[in-house]
């Protein structure tokens, strides 16, 4: 990748309802020198667009390069500044020869589908899976990893235990706000954030909607443009275009009020289909059938196949 336009073009070639990975070449020095790797995510909270997991890695003794690129707390950087830093990571010789990166783009459809599985797969699990996948991918491509730093929103202990179990040879540090402490995590954060921003910029609605990111906003539920989008772009039957994370309460609540009611079969906490086989208490007090004749039961064949006599034009 040589420019942000190239990044956009690459994103455009991908189906935006599926996940995909964008990954740099491995700098030669990273195959021999011990390396550190940072992990961070972007777009966890928004109701619109993908969530992006980013990683960056470089030799342990090359922190100075990261600092000279300007990798610091990415939340304190402006969008322009982040774009500029990623562009440097793509083109600056010192960066290209020492710092590798990768991003996984996790589509909004994938997020909703995971959270609406029969056995629910939470966003934390989706996040961890992505981080693990990216670290493995980098290790398999020959990078000599020794240290891993992860930024997390959730409880660090569980995350750290899981990663240490999978990667026992690395020194692993999971911390809140790691983004502002470790420059390698800041770099990962910039990769993730800029990738997400550009995903939204080139978002193509497969539903045929002609709308740009300037109209639907940042995707955060508090953004007035996003609010307007969530309120106005409702299809009675299908709900929303696939840009929207249906599993977010902002979207759920809006659809409950404004779209056709949809009822899936009920599932209780064990993922089992509910069966109403307990008689209600009042049924014991009602009079038996007046003339005492029982309604003739249909043969088991029909019962098992859910077949009954009905007027098709009812």
């Amino acid at each position: 990748m040589n420019s942000l336009e190239q990044l956009q073009d690459y994103i455009k070639t991908k189906n935006n309802s599926r996940n995909f990975i964008n990954i740099s070449d491995v700098p030669e020095v990273c195959k021999t020198e011990p390396c550190m790797l940072g992990v961070d995510e972007a777009g966890r909270g928004p109701v619109l667009g993908p969530m992006v997991y980013g990683i960056a890695y470089c030799p342990v003794n090359k922190n100075s390069i990261l600092e000279s690129l300007g990798c610091a707390d990415s939340k304190a950087l402006t969008e322009e500044k982040r774009d500029e830093i990623l562009l440097k990571m793509f083109t600056n010789d010192d960066a290209v020869n020492n710092v590798g990166w990768a991003a996984e783009i996790i589509s909004p459809s994938y997020i909703s589908n995971s959270m609406y599985k029969r056995a629910k797969h939470s966003l934390n699990e989706v996040s961890m899976d992505s981080a693990i996948k990216l670290i493995k991918r980098v290790a398999e491509s020959g990078v000599n990893l020794t240290e891993v730093y992860v930024d997390t929103v959730g409880p660090p202990e569980k995350y750290q235990a899981r990663l240490s179990q999978i990667f026992p040879d690395y020194k692993i540090t999971v911390a809140k706000k790691a983004d502002s402490i470790y420059p390698i995590v800041s770099a990962a954060s910039i990769v993730a954030k800029v990738t997400r921003d550009h995903c939204l910029k080139v978002w193509h609605f497969q539903e045929g909607l002609e709308m740009s990111y300037k109209e639907f906003g940042s995707g955060y539920p508090g953004d007035p443009l996003t609010k307007k989008f969530i309120r106005d772009q409702i299809d009675k039957v299908f709900g929303y275009p696939s840009l929207v994370r249906f599993s977010w309460s902002t979207a759920e609540v809006m659809l409950q009020g404004k779209a056709a009611t949809c009822t899936f079969e009920d599932v209780d906490d064990d993922g089992q289909t509910k069966k109403a086989n307990t008689k209600s208490i009042s049924s014991f007090f009602t009079m038996p059938n007046e003339n005492g004749t029982k309604k003739r039961k249909r043969h088991k064949f029909f019962e098992e196949r859910y077949l009954s006599m009905k007027n098709a034009f009812e």
Partner: protein, 132 residues
């Protein structure tokens, strides 16, 4: 009361009208009428050698194609206005038809234990009992 079904669409030569694709969704949708299936649903169908996936309202679906039983065809009939009286005559118009049904389950691979597939057994049994 009698039920009349009129067909102003011809004898079924028009493939676009009579060979549409029907989707059987594992969800009760409280709405009748046209739906933007082509825009909102079909772009997201994936086909891995017959194992289909799709998404509806964020729910993951697994599907499979079901052919209509031999000798049968499916017709869509619509009623402009339902008469108020219970026993009044009813008139329906043929609005189209389909030859193929895609059967969808919510996050569960379709199998011969699915209700619709089981109900189809009746077609063969009925032919054996009531046929010539």
């Amino acid at each position: 009361m009698s039920i009349q079904v009129e067909n102003n669409l011809g004898n079924g030569d028009n493939k676009e009208v009579f060979e549409q694709r029907a989707h059987f969704i594992p969800c009760k949708v409280e709405e009748d009428g046209e739906a933007n299936v082509k825009k909102y649903f079909e772009p997201y169908i994936t086909d891995d050698s017959g194992d289909l996936t799709a998404t509806f309202r964020g729910y993951p679906l697994d599907g499979t194609k079901i052919a209509l039983p031999e000798g049968y065809r499916a017709v869509i009939a619509t009623e402009t206005k339902r008469p108020l009286a219970e026993d009044a005559d009813r008139r329906f118009q043929v609005a189209g038809g389909f030859k193929e049904v895609i059967y969808w389950n919510w996050d569960k691979k379709p199998s011969k234990n699915d209700n619709l597939t089981k109900a189809m057994d009746w077609i063969d049994i009925a032919a054996a009992i009531h046929g010539d």
